[in-house]
Symmetry: C2
């Protein structure tokens, strides 16, 4: 169980690039994948442009075990994700019979050409659907295609997650340093060098008192190695505070 499973995210949408819509999906998927035991290695955001989508998708899907896309599967002319995915894979695309049947039942006379677009699924794809999801997502090869609306994307993640191959989870632990990042940079470098199977990150922030502070995060797939590195971090911080701030 030492396998590492990797992933990329491809966010599709002019509205994200224009700044009109602020993406909420990347952070959600990133956290979700970490909890599953899938390492997110790269994210790309591209426009509603077929060439851009195909190029980015082909670059990312060849590099990682999975790719998760969000956006562009609705009923309007700028929803071109399904067609772009089919083109990237070099497969056909058509109205999926079971989706069309469900749409007929659901929409009746309101089933128009625009809504039928949402039934266009690349050949060979597995549907990601439920009673509460209108336009289905799908999985084709290692590419998982999901909606851009956060609540729908999240429902789709819950459906597809149990079917994904996962690796050994990256574990993490964090400590608030109560120190400026510049005061712990050198000792952290030494600790990082002494614990090669961990990764140690430091993240500066301004605390509630308006003072510069730092969170230190240790990550490892091995619980014992994680604990050993964190123990060294905490010992270093204790020494720092003992010598500089004896009262605290």
């Amino acid at each position: 169980m030492t396998e590492i499973v990797t992933a990329g995210i491809l966010v599709i949408g002019d509205e994200i690039l224009s700044g009109r819509t602020k993406d909420k999906n990347i952070g959600f998927i990133a956290e979700y994948l970490t909890n599953l035991g899938i390492d997110l290695k790269e994210v790309r955001i591209v426009a509603d442009d077929e060439d851009d989508i195909v190029a980015a998708l082909n670059a990312v899907r060849e590099r990682y075990d999975y790719v998760f896309t969000t956006g562009g599967i609705g009923p309007t002319h700028d929803d071109i994700t399904a067609d772009s995915v089919a083109k990237a894979f070099g497969v056909g695309i058509d109205h999926h019979p079971s989706v069309v049947a469900r749409f007929k039942e659901r929409f009746g006379d309101a089933l128009n050409e625009a809504r039928l677009r949402m039934a266009r699924i690349p050949d060979g794809a597995e549907l990601i659907e439920s009673a509460t999801i209108l336009a289905p997502g799908f999985k084709l090869g290692n590419v998982v295609v999901m909606a851009g609306v956060p609540s729908i994307m999240q429902a789709m993640m819950d459906i597809i997650a149990p079917k994904l191959r996962t690796g050994r989870r990256m574990l993490s632990d964090s400590v608030r340093a109560d120190a400026k990042e510049g005061d712990i940079g050198s000792p952290l470098r030494e600790i990082a060098a002494a614990h090669p199977d961990t990764s140690i990150g430091s993240y500066p922030f301004i605390d509630d008192d308006g003072k510069p502070n730092t969170n230190v995060v240790v990550r490892s797939r091995d619980q014992d190695k994680l604990a050993a590195a964190m123990a060294d971090v905490k010992a270093m911080l204790a020494t720092l505070h003992g010598s500089k701030n004896p009262v605290q």
Copy 2:
């Protein structure tokens, strides 16, 4: 003044890919660039890994007029953005004399090796600094390197923005359709086809009453063409509501 100026964003940081930190910079920069008259075409998020940073930076900087990076310019061992940018450009990197002088004045005895890392600037880069910014950003060629902490990144954008070449702004206008996206997809497609110098997007959302609704956004660099397309969208919506919901 018909020139189009393009940009990419490169977000650097393990903490974004793990989901521990939720990015707030992409949306801010996207909106900022739109207001300046620079078209954001692509965003990439990569890990604190020199090879990944160099590869992504070289891909993006060759493709667009500008690249904006965030993250990885602090004092710790995982802050490798400056070195990676120097490597991508094939230039040297060293402690910048004026930054070192300022650090000596500011930190005195607390100027340690970790803090000196923040004075490492690639040869030929222009500093992005102010009295309130600790670690400077810099601009090298078409690449603008900024902090990951949002407040500092935003201060850096304000400093560098007046020096950037800008194009004709993409204008936009939006209307709340009070209709399901599937009911307006077909007429929107016709309107989009009739107004080739505009781009029309539709964005579904759930309104306060829990009902599916849609925002329609029209974008164009030409105010008259924008207004003409938006007039057609509003006329279409009026017809839709007149025939289907006469009471509303």
